[in-house]
Symmetry: C2
Subunit: 582 residues, 2 copies
């Protein structure tokens, strides 16, 4: 038997017991005649003592030990003379009488500590050692708990978890599929699913009523900083529901998770912001509501004062940074440079300081008098001591730049506390999105998303104005999930395809099995999918989803520990009837 | 709002309520002035009535309805005059006052009934309609419940569910990998995992202590009747355990599932049979213990009586079929033909009837007298009225044929009741298996399986005799799971590789990252993996795992509903830098 207890469980009332523990050596301290060893396992740390009464035989063994050795130790639980209140087992220690070395360890390439000396690359290569570190282990424990709570909630709400296949057909829409050649069907390929979207809709046609799955999805696309080629979705679908039903159900799930995982009790409904308002006031369809700092448009009143820059633009607007009137020249220059970076792309930054004495000082004093600036300040609810920041230009472009500036100000002002949570729903997304390059509409969500009933007439007159029964769930400016009520009526679906420029033949080719299924009694249905990796990272207070994935891939889609992808034998290629092009 | 209640929940005490229901039309019966409609959803059936008071408008709508139409109906709950005790809602019906057709349905290609008229192929093509049928839906509900209970048990036992990647490296051992070309790394490939074996061992090195995952695994190999290219494992691993710990933990899981899913309370320990006994007495490493009918060897006593067939063989043995002495010539001929089929391959069948009057009648009366046959009968615990069936030949071949015959007799005698469950552990598997063709040993379980400590010396003298710390879990003759205690010591691992004829260089190439990980303090560990599909099928009383998979593939690895695998665009191939060989 390797252990009677784990390294995290012994307490004062275990004193006197003979116990056996197994684990890794976290630290060895040699104090003259005494040796103290900190033994670690997943459950905690326990101090072992080899004192002056230790036999020579045992002392020799102890002398051979090193960090990360795996040992089994037998001994007696005693009360510590100098207790360690930071350790849950800090009131006891083990006077050890027997020791076996279960396995040796080479010196790890970085220290197994909360703050390690290992760089990113080294830690990824030795990910199995990185996973020994408390913060990383705790991330995966959080993820486990999330999954369990999600399943508990959905099971209780009568959702059935149904596993959909991973070897599916290649879909022509959206991001790129990973393809899988079939040995039994040479020259033919499966695809790995980008999401089980069509399959879950088929399950609704089958009458499963409430479906969910925590499922891996795959996208073979260039990886931005926080994307992974394989990621995990909480995929859900319900029948006989409208948008309100879906939002209420999953607001319930989110509240449950906030409560069980974060100990937060959200009693009020989550705010719902429509897409247009989100864009107008925050320049983003995933606003960070931990702080206000909404945008105010001043296009009309700021024009006609001979300031050429403003006179020629589509949009002028800004935000009020509370208590920032004292910003220095240097700080303001920094902000200007910040918004002028190519990835933000603003031409310049106009500021208006609302001084404590009630006067204004701005970068456009030549064109606007105190009264003009007071009007702006009033519109922006600014008070003496505040700083108004203004950008101007093409509307969408400027709103986007304002969004980046707002988040930067939030960071600078400490308003984006990772222990504070501001969830919201963004609703009423546009159904279609015009693509300037292709000169055609694309589905903003996906081609099965239903338009608002009252907007259907716009199919003929102004499709770009149509709103969808589509919604996103956002926490702290991060999109956690999104979904829609689907089209379940064949005629409406055909109208949608028409608007997207997809012919009947093409639709049949691409989505045939789903359209066929819809002929046999499709119920009204809708759903949502959440990104589990991202939800975990937001709950865990991290910027990166990688920290919540046991074995993530790097930006080139490589797993440097497994050293994959890699070359394969010609024999394997031959069996697949494939050749690599030179 | 689509419904106030589901179709499965209204009862006598709901009488008088105005309700709204939505669902599919299961049946329409028109009785003169009255129309009865059975409305179906996942939760049940409810009878709708359109009686003589129905408005003309509504009557016209009702006349348009057909099977599988999706409707929403409003009405009043009333008590039925002729109650249907077979239906949970059979005491009430709905007098309907409003009706909307939510969706029409074409006539389905087969009837949506428990016993359908649709053939296999048609039902697979329209799998979404097949899934509407009660027996199929119930299979997936069973599977959902299994998964939930498994997670509940393991979470409670402190196992952490950790998602391992699906895009891994190609492993050189065992069955064939599905390969996935990488677009970002042209000419390089990922593989889909055949199991997360090495990754879960790395998680033990990481100190996760107890890991599990319900996870898809992939094998691109020729599909036997009951295999799927993608299948689901309950994959588990524990640290600081020996075989006893693992068996006890997962016997606990199995008992919990028997209790929660089947309502069976197994109080006794499951039988444990060692591999040699299983082969000797049942000719199988997965014996069906719902019935006894063990084999008795009579090689020594049956020889030397001038019966040439017996005198020349390695093994003679048989079993006692209780109360079958009255078997007719025709029945015995059938059995003879059965064992002579090429897939069984016995030369012939010897029978001995132990007549009620105490005399014997056998197919070898020429060579054996009554006394000889009495000796056989006594060894086989036969009594008057029984039938002894004997096969002879090469030992392993004959034991295998006896196994097939035993199962056939079990079927014929009704001893393989699908509602009866006989679980067992098979233990002490051989470590190595000799391959006559390749003239070398293969790992019976896998190359990381540890030998029994007391057998390690046999590495030098007689490797084929070594027993492994490996175990299988079997229910009703079906292998539900298997696992082993792993080698965690580098030297022992090298000995194992040596026995398998794998050089140090080859080992490093193939298993390098695991061997490297083991250098940094690997704990003793072991685990098990269960086949979820198969466990569900055994609990569901079905022979086929396909019945428990929402969207299974056929024997050619095709999903005929999705029509995959399929051809892909040349453009897609170009992006992957691949060409199909002509």
């Amino acid at each position: 038997m390797y252990r009677t207890h784990t390294c995290g469980e012994l307490r004062l009332n275990d004193i006197g017991q003979e116990v056996t523990l197994s684990g890794w050596i976290q630290a060895i301290r040699n104090l003259g005649g005494m040796t103290f060893i900190t033994l670690r396992d997943r459950y905690g740390l326990t101090q072992l003592v080899f004192d002056e009464n230790t036999s020579n035989d045992l002392k020799q063994k102890v002398a051979m030990l090193g960090r990360e050795y795996v040992i089994k130790v037998k001994g007696k639980v005693v009360e510590r003379s100098s207790k360690n209140p930071k350790m849950p087992t800090g009131e006891i220690e083990i006077i050890s009488s027997e020791l076996s070395i279960l396995n040796k360890s080479e010196i790890p390439p970085f220290t197994i500590e909360d703050d390690t000396d290992g760089g990113d690359e080294l830690r990824m290569k030795y990910r199995y050692l990185d996973l020994r570190r408390n913060p990383v282990r705790r991330n995966l424990e959080l993820r486990h708990k999330m999954s369990q709570e999600i399943r508990k909630f959905l099971d209780h709400a009568k959702f059935i978890e149904i596993e959909t296949p991973y070897l599916v057909n290649s879909t022509p829409e959206g991001a790129r599929d990973f393809l899988v050649p079939s040995r039994m069907n040479p020259g033919e390929f499966y695809a790995l699913p980008q999401s089980p979207q069509t399959l879950k809709q088929l399950l609704m046609v089958s009458g499963f009523d409430r479906y969910f799955q925590i499922v891996k999805c795959f996208r073979d696309e260039d990886l931005r900083a926080d994307r992974q080629p394989e990621f995990t979705q909480i995929d859900c679908e319900m029948s006989f529901v409208d948008q309100e039903d879906v939002l209420n159900m999953f607001e319930g799930l989110a509240k449950q998770l906030f409560y069980e995982i974060k100990g937060l009790n959200f009693k009020e409904d989550f705010p719902r912001i429509n897409y247009n308002d989100a864009m107008t006031y925050y320049g983003s369809d995933k606003p960070d509501l931990r702080f206000d700092m909404r945008f105010t448009e001043i296009t009309e009143i700021a024009k006609g004062k001979d300031f050429k820059v403003f006179d020629s633009v589509e949009y002028i607007g800004g935000m009020n940074a509370k208590n920032c009137a004292e910003y220095s020249r240097k700080q303001l220059d920094e902000l200007t440079e910040f918004v002028q970076r190519p990835q933000v792309g603003a031409k310049g930054l106009v500021y208006v300081k609302y001084n404590i004495d009630g006067t204004f000082k701005s970068s456009v004093d030549k064109f606007y008098n105190q009264e003009d600036l007071k009007t702006w300040a009033d519109l922006m609810h600014a008070e003496p001591g505040d700083l108004i920041l203004i950008l101007a230009g093409e509307r969408n472009h400027t709103l986007n730049a304002l969004n980046v500036l707002r988040l930067e100000m939030g960071d600078r002002l400490g308003l984006r506390d990772k222990d504070k949570f501001a969830p919201c729903w963004v609703v009423d997304f546009p159904l279609l999105e015009w693509d300037e390059e292709d000169k055609r509409f694309f589905a903003k969500h996906h081609p099965f998303t239903s338009p608002k009933i009252e907007d259907i007439a716009l199919f003929e007159s102004d499709p770009g104005k149509m709103r969808a029964n589509a919604y996103d769930f956002v926490i702290n400016g991060v999109e956690i999930g999104g979904g829609s009520i689907r089209i379940f009526n064949t005629e409406l679906q055909h109208k949608m395809f028409e608007a997207l420029g997809i012919s009947k033949e093409e639709a049949q080719l691409k989505f045939g099995f789903l359209l066929n299924a819809f002929k046999f009694g499709a119920p009204p249905h809708g759903g949502i999918a959440f990104g589990l990796d991202r939800w975990c990272s937001v709950f865990g207070g991290s910027e990166s989803i990688r920290d919540f994935i046991a074995f993530p891939k790097n930006n080139s889609g490589r797993d440097v520990m497994l050293d994959t992808p890699g070359k394969i034998d010609k024999k394997q290629l031959d069996e697949l009837m494939l050749k690599i092009k030179e």
